[in-house]
Symmetry: C2
Subunit: 198 residues, 2 copies
Amino acid sequence: MARVAKKLGRRPGESGTREAIAQAAQRLFSELGYDRTTIRAIAAAADVDPALVNHFFGSKQDLFRAVTTLPVELAEVLPRIAEGPRSQAGLRLADYVMGVLEDPETRRAITGLVRAAASDPEAARVVREIVTARVLTPIAEHLAADRPTLRASLINSQMVGLIMARYVLALEPLASLPRDEVVQAIAPNLQRYLTGRL
Amino acid sequence: MARVAKKLGRRPGESGTREAIAQAAQRLFSELGYDRTTIRAIAAAADVDPALVNHFFGSKQDLFRAVTTLPVELAEVLPRIAEGPRSQAGLRLADYVMGVLEDPETRRAITGLVRAAASDPEAARVVREIVTARVLTPIAEHLAADRPTLRASLINSQMVGLIMARYVLALEPLASLPRDEVVQAIAPNLQRYLTGRL
């Protein structure tokens, strides 16, 4: 691989080249969306030959999978959300989710994922894998209630819907509701999905 | 206008030309999404000069607005949903929504709208206008409870989230849950947004 990098690339080290491609891909996917981002444009932005992008990352879908991360560590956060009265778990989860979404940087990353998934079936597949592994499974594992995976996917439906309604569609008055009022509005609904009768 | 149509178009009647453009636009927007659909491609599909598309419909955003419809008549349906026990209104709404979403044709139209809104800010603006006029306002007008417009936008967040989670992302087990179980799962949450304490 090092030989190919030396032959085709304009950058010396293999890890530097790989990193430059990954950074360019991340930036372009988030700026242009999945389907308008081309391997050629990523190569140009990283100042490498397009063949090197395929060499390091495979297909565009593989590259998207490799550079797409969810800026949320639910697996680490959930034990803290699980602490405290069970009847208030929905409130703690709503508060955590709104904290993540009201931070401009994490919001941009998450709305970018939702946008990519909505615009392209290939991207939807990758986002589904990421959301299942990083959101649904950790939530389901922390649920003492029956049907944990169904509960986790219902919780996700409310979260994705909030992202779409408040940040992507910007439906009023939800779009300009103060953060704490959003938390109060959605917490009991998350609570039912967490622990109520389905 | 008829003179321009005769001069530039390849079809005789003005209304026939307009209709051919509208049909081509509708098909291409739903097949390719908003940002991959060009005025040029619409003109080619309708077999007219691109200048005629602008002549009849203005900008691409105006054209998208003109041809985008929501295949749901909530304003007509809501009086029926409002009939019956108030405590079961969430169930009736959930049942109606799932009826619309489980019909392949209306589902395709609605997921197309969600996809368009997610992929492009211009399209999002148009979809927001349509959803506000055709979904949020009718729901809010039928709500006897306090804060009707906030309730309507929260109901919408759950509906859009269900569309994304079940049909676009296809998150399991929600994606393959039988229709009636989806209704049972979401109805109490819609009920709270309709009539509960926010």
